[in-house]
Symmetry: C2
Subunit: 348 residues, 2 copies
Amino acid sequence: MAKAQSGFCLMSQAFSPSLFFTTLCLSASLALPLKNMNYIKAFAPATVANVACGFDIFGFAVDEPGDVVEIYRRDEPGLIITDITGDEGRLPRDPARNAVTVVMLRLLDHLKISDFGGEVILHKNMPLGSGMGSSAASAVAGVFALNELLGQPLTRQQLLPFAVEGERIACGSAHADNVGPALMGGFVVIRSYQPLDVFRIPVPGDLYCTLVNPDIEVNTKDARFILRNEVSLKNAISQMGNVAGLIAGLMQEDYDLISRSMVDVIVEPIRAILIPEFNEVKQAAIAQGALGCSISGAGPSMFTLSKGRETAERVGQAMQQKFAEAEIDSKVYVSAINRDGPRILATA
Amino acid sequence: MAKAQSGFCLMSQAFSPSLFFTTLCLSASLALPLKNMNYIKAFAPATVANVACGFDIFGFAVDEPGDVVEIYRRDEPGLIITDITGDEGRLPRDPARNAVTVVMLRLLDHLKISDFGGEVILHKNMPLGSGMGSSAASAVAGVFALNELLGQPLTRQQLLPFAVEGERIACGSAHADNVGPALMGGFVVIRSYQPLDVFRIPVPGDLYCTLVNPDIEVNTKDARFILRNEVSLKNAISQMGNVAGLIAGLMQEDYDLISRSMVDVIVEPIRAILIPEFNEVKQAAIAQGALGCSISGAGPSMFTLSKGRETAERVGQAMQQKFAEAEIDSKVYVSAINRDGPRILATA
């Protein structure tokens, strides 16, 4: 099984001669701001949005992969992007157009800080447009890193609207089901968008996610465009039942209820058309013991939840094999649910 | 405040001279069947279906009011209805047409018992068509009583499809959001109708329900007919967020989350039109500290949830007062959440 490595253990290839930095592994829950910090390197996780029945309202974070942002303070005010790795040159280097730096500029503006200067390096460790919350991971890593560098003027919860704005810039839709879990960790529910009301629920300790990213691309805007604006009351009721079942199943550690509730009658039947071999891959996952399998975010990545890492690994192999039979390459990520959200990798 | 008394503490006015019966207060969780039982009297509770955001999927039982069914064995096979109290003569006395006895006959048929003979007395302690699960309470009391009288051949869960069938006969729609909680007690979720998949979730100990039944009538069939067959995806997402919030709020004893989640953007805006003074009464309830207020089932009864009995009583007074200002009489019931479902009141 091709198990991708997240890049957060690698030191950046870029080097700023004005700084001498040490690598520290710091907890994301670190309460005290670090004084006189001149450099920070932070990680934010990939996320699975929708989670079968919870279109636009559910998302959870995984331990890997994730994106990494480095910020070096510099004397001259303003942000510049000095490097982006892993994006195949596709993301804008202009700080006024790149969602990561736009969100950071909005934060600085909100804090009325006009004299901050920073060099930003972004490491993309997952494909763009993969349905794994790529843009959310970058935006959250950036805004989290900047907030830490500034001495934590805002709480995690207060950073959320900035990260949501990043999604609007990157994807054209201000959804929170990726940035919510990327920022807060765990399994997150967006109860309401106006006003934004987000909360976390506990999940069973033995719950593992398998993410399979086939080498095809679906544009998030297209995936949203093909959805119908109306749904039948019957399907809405069915979906609501599964939403209730998934929340209760996760909170009660009832794996069977989780499994029965991982059903999407509204979005999956439409978006699955965009993913070749969807039904075959899903059936292969279920046959290997996955609790359920659906599209991760807007796709084309698919995800499963399983009880135990061993099952999650076996499920991933079967899914990759099924894609391979149709001559589609894929990457597989097996991971526990990330409970902490972003974390500091290094400071100086 | 006019607080109605449920009738389950009163002995029946009817008397069968062939039987000498004693009144026993027995727990509904009694595991051993009572042998050679010739008489049973059982109570089943009123229920609040939908619970704001959970149309057709949520329901909970209250401690009062509730309906009572008595069954006397008799030698001649078949069921006869010897009396119905509290229905103002509106329910059919023909056992082949009354939902309570039809459900009992289905149970006997399922159990392949052809020689059972019984006299049935039904005590209605809540108005018909009130939105308080009147038909469900009667059907559940009946099928539960018969199952006990027969020595518990089926479990509670196994009785559910029979009670659902009773709803189909009484209301024209086989919904389970009243019979589920009436039979199982507590707060019940119907995750799926096909196959029927019902589970209970725990609720906070200090949660109280205020039910207000105005002296007007809404036909359940009409209340269903005026609903649209399609809902906007936006509203479906909003409702799903509230469904998730209400489940998590109840399970985490987060009263504030419960309150924020008691929002119905799909059904309440349409059905509220059928209830005079709905908005004024709802506002009066919220002003007195109710966590939320919506229509109970198909209406016209309205319900609130409150933290603490004192608040629930005060809320009830304010709601009744608001109806009274529009010259509408109403009955108010303040009750804890019923956790046990039906119970035996007497046997002989």
